[in-house]
């Protein structure tokens, strides 16, 4: 794990210095792209907790990202337009809407997880997808909040002295949250909780026979994963200053899976590397051709067929955990 930690530290340093470098190079617009990488990375880190360590293939994580984004969008809408949501007044305070986004997404994940974890394998993939579609159609049919067109944010969330309307400040907020969750996840997967998840992933039958009732641990992980995906959603809403049903679409769920695999499934830092690579690839292909998906598709297929361990697998060398 030494090599992997060292590489992660270098990555952290590169990110921390990035705004200064971009400024020096006259590429300040790239800070926005880097923020986006961190946000997708955060969502992918969250997904990896259940996908990589829990072996649970959720094809519906966009539901949690989108729900978090809509919490920010709807409360911002009411704080400027008046009125309220279910009796709650609107708010633009980040200290309120960010935790609320996590809470709502977490509760949603708790409910979806409690039902979905009754199934396994392919049925689990499909039922998580179905629940996400359910949420997608729910928001499409809310004309007050833009329906299919989505909802513009009046302003980024208000963090008091911290003005995240500034792209560089916003970037460091993203970096801070990614760092905090990475450290938390690092402890989590090394603790008994993480070991139990991995045991259930590798041999659920034996874990049961040894005395572990798996459901509650998987549900706890699913809930936490959903809450952090909701946090990523809150950031995403702030970054784009816009909330739309596309944040809930199954394309985003698919992209998050791709990012985790591309970076290295079940590795601590892989999903971040995956997010950087995926968004960079998308960005570069877009620069070259409007038909960038024609190339992205086959690249994904090649990654699945020939680079099973992802980018972080190259860093780590020997397979562990």
């Amino acid at each position: 794990m030494q090599r992997s930690d060292l590489a992660a530290l270098i990555g952290l340093l590169a990110f921390a210095l990035f705004p200064a470098l971009a400024w020096a190079g006259g590429l300040l617009w790239a800070v926005d792209l880097a923020s986006r990488m961190l946000i997708y990375g955060l969502a992918a880190l969250a997904l990896n907790l259940i996908l990589g360590y829990g072996g649970l293939v959720s094809f519906g994580h966009a539901a949690f990202v989108g729900a978090g984004a809509y919490v920010v969008g709807i409360l911002s809408f009411h704080s400027f337009m008046g009125g309220g949501f279910l009796g709650l007044p609107g708010s633009g305070s980040g200290f309120l809407v960010f935790p609320l986004a996590m809470l709502v997404s977490g509760l949603l994940a708790l409910a979806i997880g409690a039902l979905s974890l009754k199934t396994s394998g392919l049925y689990f993939i499909m039922i998580t997808l179905a629940f996400a579609q359910m949420i997608y159609y729910l928001f499409i049919s809310l004309p007050d909040y833009g329906g299919e067109d989505g909802l513009s944010l009046w302003a980024r969330s208000d963090f008091g002295p911290l003005d995240i309307g500034n792209d560089v400040v916003f970037f460091y907020l993203c970096l801070g949250l990614v760092l905090a969750f990475t450290l938390l996840k690092r402890r989590l997967v090394g603790a008994r909780f993480g070991w139990t998840l991995m045991g259930l992933r590798d041999n659920p039958r034996r874990m049961q026979a040894l005395g572990t009732a798996g459901f509650r641990y998987q549900l706890a992980a699913f809930t936490l994963s959903g809450a952090v995906a909701g946090l990523a959603g809150a950031l995403l809403a702030n970054q784009t200053e816009f909330v739309s049903p596309s944040f809930l679409s199954w394309h985003l769920s698919g992209e998050l899976l791709v990012i985790v695999i591309l970076g290295g499934i079940g590795t601590l830092y892989g999903p971040l590397a995956g997010a950087v690579a995926f968004l960079l690839l998308e960005f570069l292909l877009r620069e070259v051709t409007e038909h960038w998906q024609l190339f992205l598709g086959p690249i994904l297929i090649l990654v699945v067929l020939y680079a099973r361990r992802g980018l972080w697998g190259l860093v780590e060398g020997r397979r562990r955990d």
Binding site: R187, F193, M207, L210, G211, Y217, D321
Partner: protein
Amino acid sequence: MTEARTTEPGAPRPLLRASGLRKAFGAVQACDGVELEIAPGELRAVIGPNGAGKTTLISLLAGELKPDAGQIVFDGADITALAAPARAQAGLARSYQITSLFPRFTALENALLAVQARAGHAFRFWRPAAGDPALIEPARAALARVGLEARAEVPVAALAHGEQRQLEIALALATRPRLLLLDEPTAGMSREETQAMVALLSGLKREVTIVLIEHDMDAVFALADSITVLVYGRPIATDRPEAIRKDAEVRAAYLGEEDGGDDRPARQEAP
């Protein structure tokens, strides 16, 4: 002929009593009214021809299968309705005929998973499990018990078949069971490995009550205090090893066609 003859008057309360256990898979009656009484400290072997329902019996006792009918009482408490994890918590542990480990982890980490599974809830999010003496020490002890202490840091995939079978037992032991259900611990073993396993099991005898399914008759007669013969899901005899050796019905049903093959319930015809 189905009563358990090992329970003499005045004997202590049986640790495990199964009565009227039935389990059918479609038209196949894999377990057809099994009566079983295991005394504390006993080593009971369960033998029978292929497809006699031996593995099904273990799975029923361990809670991985639900019986169609019948009752299981463990240490005076009715556990029939408990699922596998709760039975493990109550002190029942099983091993598998087909090795069932955590192949991506080392031998020690496997034992550690077993220790922490038994320790109850695992909602501990912060302290590293790998450095926790409350887990490591019992895990090492379980490895030592089966003679794997020198191989603790070796990944399971790199262990020899015999060593994996030893680890299989170690996982069950790491849960500190009061009743150990062993499903063919010598399956696929060479002569030498089998002898080592028999030595290991005779060391465990008296320490923990054991129900042993085994095809190797030398191992059975070397280890068992008493033997139950299962044919077509029914126990046809339970007695001391010498008596079983002489029992004409048993010889006709089983010993005459002993082949030491695999236990495959699918091959069984409905009676």
